[in-house]
């Protein structure tokens, strides 16, 4: 009635037992692995709050079946900082005031991190398009755009 899933999370090899077959990667991260950084807000891929890297590609963790990550690599917001050294995207979100309630923040940070990895100097239209799947109800997005511009101006994020 349950499966075991072996995968790498933020660089560390993990094995999780007792996973329900219909369970999402998001649930496994939050409820079974003590990694609640990725947020659960819509369960249908509309809000992007659960955005994580799956084999280096940003996806909604709520739409990935846990069994599908077998043998693969996942990176969450908890895995972006290098020890105490924040990623430039995280720094920029802090400085620009792009964080309010903070619930959309982890997903947005992963999405911005990916955007800058693909496109070190995005224009505003490109930023808006890249972040189209990350809903924020607090900020009105302006300061999130500021943060992306600031992070881009400083340097491309570490791979």
């Amino acid at each position: 009635m349950s499966i075991r899933v072996n995968f790498t999370v933020n660089g560390s090899a993990e094995s999780v037992d007792g996973v329900w077959e219909g369970e999402s990667l998001l649930y496994v991260l939050r409820e079974r692995m003590g990694l609640p950084g990725s947020k659960n807000a819509c369960e249908q891929g509309e809000c992007g709050s659960c955005t994580v890297y799956l084999d280096g590609i940003p996806v909604c963790a709520c739409l990935v079946a846990a069994g599908q990550v077998e043998g693969r690599s996942v990176r969450t917001v908890e895995g972006l900082a290098d020890g105490d050294r924040l990623d430039p995207v995280q720094e920029a979100f802090l400085e620009c005031g792009a964080v309010q309630c903070g619930f959309c923040t982890p997903g947005l940070i992963v999405a911005c991190h990916d955007l800058l990895a693909r496109n070190p100097a995005p224009g505003d239209a490109e930023i808006r398009e890249a972040l189209a799947g990350n809903l924020c109800r607090c900020t009105g997005y302006e300061k999130i755009l500021d943060a992306v511009r600031l992070a881009a101006a400083r340097r491309a994020p570490r791979p």
Binding site: C62, G67, A111, A132, G133
Partner: protein
């Protein structure tokens, strides 16, 4: 629930034959929503991610064969030149995160009338390759594939393997209407493909009938009216008539996203617009060649 992980296409067919109730899952963008929302709890999930061939494409005899699991992101990156209509539609699907997981195969499997890939597949005369262990593979024309709201011609023991479509030989356009600038389920959508060599026009209508469908009368009318050899601009009356015929081909309903009347009106607008774009491109190409 059981989680089935076939390592190959052959194994996937075996499992589907043994468990016709197994629900195939590729990007999860439809299946997982249904599970998360308690809309269904399938007895088995059949994970197609490990079947690597599904995310590749190839060309045989001048026809593209695109794996059902190829993500929208890959399709946009690799096939924009050959399948411009489908690539345009793919760009309007959800968000980057959704395009990184979602696939045309998944869109076909769900067979929602609002699926963005259906109109360009119809307009480009695509065929869907499905296969079962018992009966082997068969090709279903897109026009015959959609059978009702979220119902398709796929048999319970079959899986969608690929779609076949000729690379574009003329302009192709897709346009959709929504209330937002992104993350939009279409209020209605329309695709057009000009086939100058055979002097034909393909169309596809989305979100305006129980199934995606072609506007046959509109296609025949415009194919006959277009002056394929000259560089003549379009007659506005012909464009208007094309729009009317497309709107007449729809059988929309009122829902949360828009009224039936609005959908009919908007389809006419989309038809006129995409035809104009396509014809301008056709004239430009004729001018340069």
């Amino acid at each position: 629930m059981e989680f089935l992980r076939p390592a190959s296409w052959a194994e996937a067919l075996e499992l589907k034959a043994e468990y016709p109730d197994a629900v195939p899952i590729q990007g999860g963008t439809d299946v997982m929503v249904e599970i998360n929302f308690d809309l269904r709890r399938p007895a088995r999930l059949l994970d197609l991610n490990p079947v690597a061939e599904l995310s590749r494409w190839s060309t045989t005899g001048g026809v593209l064969r695109v794996g059902a699991g190829m993500t929208y992101t890959s399709l946009i990156r690799e096939l924009s030149a050959d399948l411009p209509g489908l690539a345009q539609a793919s760009r309007t699907v959800g968000s980057p995160q959704i395009r990184n997981r979602g696939s045309v195969g998944g869109n076909l499997g769900a067979a929602s009338p609002a699926g963005d890939s259906h109109p360009p597949l119809l307009a480009a005369d695509a065929e869907i390759e499905v296969e079962s262990r018992a009966r082997g593979s068969r090709l279903i024309p897109a026009t015959a594939f959609y059978q009702g709201v979220k119902r398709s011609a796929l048999a319970p023991d079959e899986l969608i393997r690929a779609f076949h479509v000729a690379p574009a030989t003329g302009p192709q356009y897709f346009s959709k209407i929504g209330t937002r600038n992104a993350m939009v389920i279409a209020v209605c959508s329309f695709a057009i493909a000009l086939h100058p060599r055979r002097r034909a026009v393909g169309t596809g209508i989305g979100s305006a009938a129980p199934t995606p469908r072609r506007a046959g009368a509109a296609e025949e009318y415009i194919a006959a009216e277009l002056d394929w050899d000259s560089r003549a601009a379009l007659d506005p009356r012909v464009v208007a008539r094309f729009g009317e015929l497309v709107a007449q081909a729809a059988s929309p309903i009122d829902d949360v996203r828009g009224t039936a009347d609005y959908r009919r009106h908007a389809l006419g607008v989309l038809a006129r617009r995409t035809l104009t774009w396509a014809w301008h491109e056709h004239m430009r190409e004729r001018t340069t060649t």
